[in-house]
């Protein structure tokens, strides 16, 4: 019963306009000259006052990128991207770096408020009732937020409180200044500069993103989150996130993203690196809600992202959960390299494509350590003329004695003009490993639909309810506030797909 009520409320709260994050913030911006060359790379590095080694690192990446070609193996189609026709640095103008939230441009704060991301400390993430003033130590956990607006981080909340525990949570630009040794030690060790075309591009021109370090034995007392917003026209966003969980630590990290509605396509090429040492756990959740383009497939974000985790320590664990509702094109494979013995990798994903959206997403689980185990649960939903592909790799090295993988991929088709595809790769070189893969494709069962309709639900609500049920295994992995948000998103994303 509560689930039904909740779904109904969700549906009611959804406006007919669909994408409600599509507004544009009118704010004075500073851009790098259009185009991409070594000077732009130097410009970005100078702008961020980076040490020499980092500039060299970027230039090496740029040199690699120039020799690389865009990957063409994904089941997505798009016109060639002109990499010279975009701004690689766009930041709101500000006099000096704000020392506290009070100094942040109120226009920016209003933008995040509108997006439901309160940058006031002691506020909790929107999406649940009573957002705003819950004190930090009330029943609900507060959420620390790093807000990235186009190319720069504009604010990070709860920094002092986290610092008391020894936790470093700040933008990566700031970490380069304040903790250069940590950044230098870990940056690019999980996703090297030349890993792939988009990762190389990102390594050359990345601007901001989050940096997290959880010291030994510390359980991070609150959810950490980053909210990415693309606002400026003709810009790309190249975020770089680096999370290090030292021995025995735990952190749960959330990521959200939105962009204005525009007829042009914008590129978002991020790199996320996670490192878990002995007995550490990182839980990484994403609700990806970039602008998906309109009903005719005009505009929308190209989300070409490289996310990878190294479970370097024994008994370390990384869990990826993603809800992918936005973007015109998604190209994303959050992966785990399971190096430490007994380490664990998980991947839970819901990907929705409606209208003309295309998603080619999945994961890679590379088993190296003994008794490593991985679980993959992927739910793909296609509607309209959307194309949804699960592409995944499970590789077991000869060293991974006793390794275990279970994979479940389900696809749901709504309408006869969409497509659902499953492309798993299973490579096993270890006799004692056990690998299992299952995939199904079906449409919403008539009898389920009929049952809901006979209980008085409209067809659209019934579909929403069934889809939420279909995705439940994944949604339950999300932190509570995000789960509510994600349910709403599923509903909105499927609007207009029924009837």
């Amino acid at each position: 019963m509560p689930a039904v009520t909740e779904t109904l409320e969700t549906v009611q709260s959804v406006t007919a306009t669909g994408y409600k994050w599509g507004f544009e913030t009118d704010i004075e911006m500073e851009f790098a000259p259009k185009g991409l060359n070594e000077d732009i790379v130097r410009f970005i590095s100078r702008k961020k006052n980076e040490p020499e080694w980092l500039l060299e690192w970027r230039l090496k990446a740029f040199a690699l990128w120039q020799r690389m070609e865009e990957p063409r193996w994904a089941a997505v189609k798009f016109p060639p991207i002109d990499y010279q026709d975009a701004y690689y640095f766009a930041a709101p103008k500000q006099k000096a770096r704000p020392k506290s939230l009070d100094e942040v441009d109120p226009e920016l704060l209003r933008t995040y408020e509108k997006l439901g991301i309160p940058l006031k400390e002691q506020a909790i993430l929107a999406g649940v009732e009573g957002a705003g003033e819950a004190p930090a130590d009330s029943g609900r956990m507060p959420v620390a937020v790093d807000a990235v607006f186009d190319s720069v981080s504009v604010a990070t909340t709860f920094k002092e409180r986290l610092a008391k525990e020894g936790i470093i949570f700040c933008s990566i630009s700031e970490a380069v200044q304040t903790h250069p040794e940590l950044v230098r030690q870990y940056l690019g060790t999980v996703v090297p500069q030349g890993d792939n075309f988009y990762a190389a591009l990102n390594s050359a021109v990345f601007t901001d993103g989050s940096f997290v370090y959880i010291p030994k034995g510390v359980r991070c007392p609150m959810e950490l989150s980053t909210y990415f917003r693309i606002n400026a026209k003709s810009t790309g966003q190249f975020e770089r996130t680096l999370i290090i969980a030292d021995e025995g630590s735990y952190v749960s990290y959330l990521e959200g993203c939105t962009a204005p509605m525009r007829d042009e396509n914008q590129l978002h090429a991020a790199v996320v690196e996670l490192i878990a040492l002995d007995d550490a756990t990182i839980k990484y959740s994403t609700v990806q809600n970039w602008y998906p383009g309109d009903e005719q497939g005009r505009g929308g974000i190209y989300n070409f992202v490289t996310k990878r985790a190294h479970c370097r320590g024994r008994r370390s664990k990384v869990s990826w959960t993603q809800v992918e509702t936005g973007s015109a094109i998604t190209w994303k494979y959050p992966s785990c390299v399971l190096l430490g013995d007994d380490s664990v990798g998980e991947f839970y994903s819901v990907a929705i494509t409606n209208n003309f959206q295309q998603a080619d997403t999945g994961t890679k689980m590379i088993h190296v350590g003994k008794r490593t185990s991985s679980t993959i649960v992927s739910k793909g939903i296609s509607a309209g003329q959307g194309q949804n592909t699960y592409r995944g790799l499970v590789r077991v090295a000869p060293t991974a004695a006793g390794a275990r993988n279970f994979t479940q991929c389900d696809s749901l088709l709504i309408g006869d003009r969409c497509g659902a595809h499953t492309v798993p790769y299973i490579e096993n070189r270890c006799m004692t490993a056990k690998v299992e893969h299952e995939a199904t494709t079906s449409r919403i069962a008539e009898d389920q639909l009929f049952y809901c309709r006979s209980r008085g639900l409209s067809e659209e609500d019934a579909v929403g309810l069934i889809v939420n049920g279909f995705c439940r295994e994944v949604l339950k992995e999300l932190p509570m506030e995000f789960a509510v948000e994600a349910q709403k998103l599923l509903q909105i994303s499927l609007e207009g797909s029924v009837g």
Binding site: D416, A420, I426, T432, H437, T440
Partner: protein, 435 residues
Amino acid sequence: MTAIPETRPSGAAGFLHRYEGLAGRLPGHRLPWLSALRARGAEAFRAQGLPTRRVEAWKYTDLRPLADAGFEEPLTALDTAPPLPRPRGGARAVFVDGRFRPDLSGLDGAALEAGSLAQALPRLEGRIGALASPEELPLVALNTMLFEDGLLAWVPEGTDAGVLELVSVATDSGRPAAFHPRHLIRLGRGARLTVIETAAGSAGARYLHNPVYEIEVAEGATLVHARLQQEGRQGFQLSTVQARVAAGGTYDNFTLNAGARLVRNEIHVALTGPGAACHMNGAQLLAGGQHADTTTFLDHAAPNCVSRQTYKTVLAGRSRGVFQGKILVRQAAQKTDGYQMNQALLLSPEAEMDSKPQLEIYADDVKCSHGATVGELDHDQLFYLRTRGVPEAEARSLLIEAFLVEAVEGVTDETARGTLQEAVRGWWAREAAAS
């Protein structure tokens, strides 16, 4: 200054070289349509070459050992009589090094028209190449360019033609030889046929057997195609089946890969009429340094079709197994029911199994699923048998057979099933004894 070594063309260049030298002598060289088709094959092969692992469809199978070999035409004396497999009853067509041997075959009295393709070429315009287009697959291009002979089997409408045996034997002429037979099998409306195929070769022979099958199953017809691949351990087999099944027809393919150094078994089936069905099953029994690749492509192009696939691979030694299976459901193919399962058993720490099942679906009212598992023998089952007094080696053999049986059981024709069961039974005991 180092001298540039004189190189004999090998790999793709070697085959093209042979084609250029032979074009005026190949069977049917006076038929303009056939010469044009062969030229298309050469053109496509020149453009594509032998596939490398950079090509997605060949990600797990490396043809370099083949490219390095430098094959020539087989030189078989017409009266060689290599040992043949025991006859299974019914009609029999025997090919030695890819050439039809009427003296060893027995096709009289069969309820079908069967014989040498080379003899029938003038009548085959528009038939050869109708299903297997050289532009699509490089190995079909190679075959198109160089085929000399093959089986022609036409079953008239409404006829049950019983069992037809297709035997291919490779002899050892002391130098690497390549043959590229083209087999045409066509069943009229409501016809039935069981083809039991054995491919074998002498143990030390280095050869390439590159057959292409064009199979047409008309409305309501049923073809059972059971293939037993027992090529010599130095042989390469790269086979391509292109089959089309019309409304209400059934194509039932079972392939058992037990021989060869390297085998690629590629099967493309298109279900083009409502209610067509396809069963594709197979087993790969690999040991030593063998490499076996089964690649299937099921094209559901019409509504209400059913497809079932079960593939089992057992890997010992340093062997490597590959399974790639794609099911495509086109927009028109509503009410499709597709199922695919591939399972592998690793018996050795040095064996490797790579699987890539794949679904590509554009129709919404469908039921499609696939599954894949890789693992070792179940310790509990082994323990159970040991507690019942079964010796370890026997227990392993039993469990391996039990694992394979599921795939063989799917073969509907009794004679075919018997032949396959025989090959599976005791495989492990023989391998274990040999190693």
